[in-house]
């Protein structure tokens, strides 16, 4: 059994912490003071109850708002937060992160590892660390009570990449302790980012149901009722643009439906529409749509997925009319300028670089 730090205190982080704690690891759970109220009941209970796909009590050895103590002497640091949490955590951890520590973003949304590394450097941390990204979250899960999580599904495999790219074998060896046999290596973090499947579904499903979300306050099944044939045509169009970016960078990607089939099975559901209107991993559980536009399906997946995609796409010369359409209309609907406030080329440290330099940053971290 080993020590592991989990940074974050939302649905995902709590589940990782309880799951690993149940399996006997010494889990250090951290979030900043801003989120202390998430942590207090967990601290009092000494852990969390898992339900549904994994059951039992998961003890959590340390629950803290002190990041220094959370990560001291811990080799593997898992970050499980929405995309907008990556940079703040990088800023919080920068004074304390040491060489040879491994940070894993679960997931990194799009290009999170590069933003994390760039932020560390901007904060004056030049330690030789490895930043990793998984392609998605291991768990489909919700925190349903102060000390309870409901795990709907656990993925059977999880793709992961490292920055620098060539450390991945070593990283997987170290992570195997926590999730034996789960990890599948990817050539570099462009792969993990372009496999961030939320970018295909959440913005399209939200923007093309904007009126219903606002008028009914999300009282409908986001997947089973929201992902209609016309909506799914745009999921496909977004997927084609994702594939085009990968190809343009020299790293051809797996098509979206294939990714979902690998994660969830059901190859007989061979279109986006047939898949999402039947998938129990996603819907069939009552109203599940965002109750308003102020929801991570937009507030995360626009600035931390579609914005970096379109920003890098532009430099790479890849036309992305559908991703751009969604960014534009989402920004309009919600009243934010995510192209400026989101994960832009500047935040990634890629401003002013040419194509080759950009690719090198993604692969080597320099």
């Amino acid at each position: 059994m080993a020590k592991i730090a989990i940074l974050g205190s939302g649905h995902g982080a709590c589940t990782y912490a309880a799951y690993l704690g149940k399996r006997g690891h010494e889990v250090h759970l951290y979030d900043s003071k801003q989120f202390e109220s998430n942590l207090t009941p967990i601290k009092e209970a000494g852990g969390m109850e898992l339900t549904m796909a994994d059951t039992g009590f998961g003890p959590i050895a340390m629950v803290t708002t002190d990041i220094k103590e959370a990560i001291e002497g811990v080799e593997v640091i898992n970050i499980v937060v929405p995309g907008f949490g990556h940079r703040p955590l990088a800023e919080q951890i920068a004074p304390y992160l040491k060489a040879n520590q491994i940070v894993v973003l679960n997931p990194g949304s799009v290009f999170g590892a590069l933003e994390f590394l760039n932020t560390l450097r901007q904060c004056g941390n030049h330690e030789d660390v490895t930043i990793c990204e998984t392609a998605s979250n291991i768990f489909a899960t919700r925190r349903v009570g102060p000390t309870t999580v409901r795990v709907a599904a656990v993925k059977k495999q999880m793709e992961i990449a490292s920055l620098p790219a060539d450390r991945i074998d070593d990283v997987i060896k170290k992570l195997d302790v926590f999730f034996p046999g789960l990890y599948v290596k990817l050539p570099n973090v462009i792969y993990s980012s372009l496999m961030y499947t939320n970018m295909l579904i959440h913005p399209v499903g939200t923007v093309l149901n904007m009126g219903r979300i606002e008028y009914t306050k999300g009282q409908y099944d986001f997947y089973w009722e929201g992902l209609t044939p016309g909506v799914c045509n745009n999921i496909e169009a977004v997927d084609q643009e994702r594939l085009a970016l990968g190809a343009a960078m020299g790293f051809p990607q797996t098509d979206g439906m294939e990714i979902f089939h690998r994660y969830y099975g059901h190859r007989e559901w061979d279109s986006w529409h047939t898949f999402f209107t039947q998938s129990l991993a996603h819907g069939g559980n009552g109203p599940s749509a965002p109750p308003s536009l102020q929801h991570r399906y937009l507030t995360e997946d626009i600035p931390y997925a579609l914005v970096p995609m379109t920003a890098v796409g532009e430099v790479m010369g890849v036309p992305m009319p559908h991703m751009n359409a969604l960014v534009t209309l989402a920004c309009t609907g919600i009243g934010e300028n995510y192209r400026e406030t989101g994960r832009s080329l500047k935040r990634l440290g890629l401003e002013g670089l040419n194509k080759e330099q950009i690719i090198r940053r993604f692969v080597e971290g320099k």
Binding site: R212, T228, A325
Partner: protein
């Protein structure tokens, strides 16, 4: 009382025919063979019952697929069809028009008058006719039964412009015999950019694609579908429209200003507030299109947004929100509206400098 030919037997054409017939005019309704079914009940009843904002029986003197009969001895010809109907009608009517007739697209979507004029010329029209377009439809209306129309709103006034622009006064005087609230506007840029539908229908539809498809339009398009975020998107589209008009050299009216002047309620100061309470447009139960193949997309994207957005691109005005709507709708309906719509190319405006474009739109040459 005068004689007027009305081409088009949908909601608008039928309502106009009954409305004018009730006022004693000799109204002649025409449609092509493909739509002959619309005409049968009207022939049988001798007209249509008006309900709502105007009530009573409106006799319709003629309801026929015979173009010459309809046009014989008539000066004013109203074309009341969705934008995708303009070109086919121009083609059919080209050799049947006579000198001195006035053809008004009521309305023309965007640049309908230019398309119509081009198409007449391309199909052998030798008659000396005036082509005009109104800013919008005189009525908010629906044909609710084979023998009945419901008028939910009558616009307080109706702008009319022509190509060439100088003919507007003459055309307006003629049309005022039938619709006394018609006023002359400077040119068709103003009437085209007053296309309310292009600014409200596509955005209200595309941002409710899921709702529409899954419930088959079982919601109030205006009162429920035009949510605050959707209304904000409408405002962005409208701002782009105004910016394109300005770059072209014209100050065009905002959507809010137009609907207030057409229907009133100056106390409603935002598009969201205006539409979410509009009795002209909503409040009578589910009213959304039942599929994305409805004219709210198939007319108002290719015949409304596309020409405006392409014009913007041509003269250096970014139209990201219009582009967004067009791209998403193209994927929804598997049709590239940038190519199949009323493009600058199809209007003969591709590759022209701004001044040349303005001349074509205002003078027709």
């Amino acid at each position: 009382m005068g004689k007027v030919a009305i081409i088009g037997s949908g909601h608008g054409g039928c309502t106009a025919a009954a409305y004018l017939g009730k006022r004693g005019h000799e109204t002649r309704l025409y449609d092509s063979e493909a739509f002959a079914g619309n005409l049968t009940a009207i022939r049988e009843h001798g007209g249509l019952e008006l309900t709502g904002a105007d009530t009573g029986f409106g006799p319709i003197a003629m309801a026929t697929t015979d173009l010459d009969q309809v046009l014989d001895g008539v000066k004013m010809v109203l074309v009341i069809v969705p934008g995708f109907g303009h070109k086919p009608i121009a083609k059919d009517i080209a050799t049947h028009l006579k000198d001195g007739q006035i053809v008004v697209l009521a309305p023309g979507s965007v640049f309908g008058a230019l398309e119509f004029k081009n198409e007449l010329a391309a199909n052998g029209c030798k008659a000396d006719v005036v082509i005009g377009e109104t800013a919008s439809n005189y009525f908010a209306c629906r044909r609710i039964a084979p023998d009945k129309v419901r008028v939910t709103g009558i616009k307080k006034y109706m702008p009319l412009a022509t190509i060439p622009a100088s003919k507007a006064k003459e055309a307006t005087e003629c049309l005022c015999e039938f619709f006394p609230n018609t006023i002359a506007w400077d040119n068709i840029v103003h009437t085209s950019f007053a296309d309310l539908n292009a600014i409200v229908h596509p955005i209200g539809t595309v941002l409710n694609t899921g709702w529409l498809e899954t419930t088959k339009g079982n919601f109030d398009f205006y009162w429920e579908g035009i949510s605050p975020g959707v209304a904000r998107a409408m405002e962005r589209l409208d701002e782009e429209k105004v910016a394109v008009g300005k770059a072209l050299g014209f100050t065009v009216q905002s959507q809010l200003s137009l609907i207030q002047s057409f229907y009133g309620h100056p106390e409603r100061t935002t598009l969201h507030e205006w539409f979410s309470k509009s009795e002209v447009n909503g409040g009578t139960g589910p009213s959304a299109p039942q599929a994305m193949t409805n004219r709210y997309v198939t007319e108002d994207v290719p015949y409304g947004l596309v020409p405006m957005a392409q014009l913007g691109h041509a003269i250096g005005v970014p139209t990201p929100n219009m582009d967004a709507v067009i791209n998403l709708c193209s994927s929804i309906n598997d049709e590239n509206y940038w190519e199949t719509g009323r493009t600058l190319k199809s209007l003969g405006l591709e590759g022209l400098e701004k001044d040349a474009i303005v001349r074509r739109l205002t003078e027709g040459k």
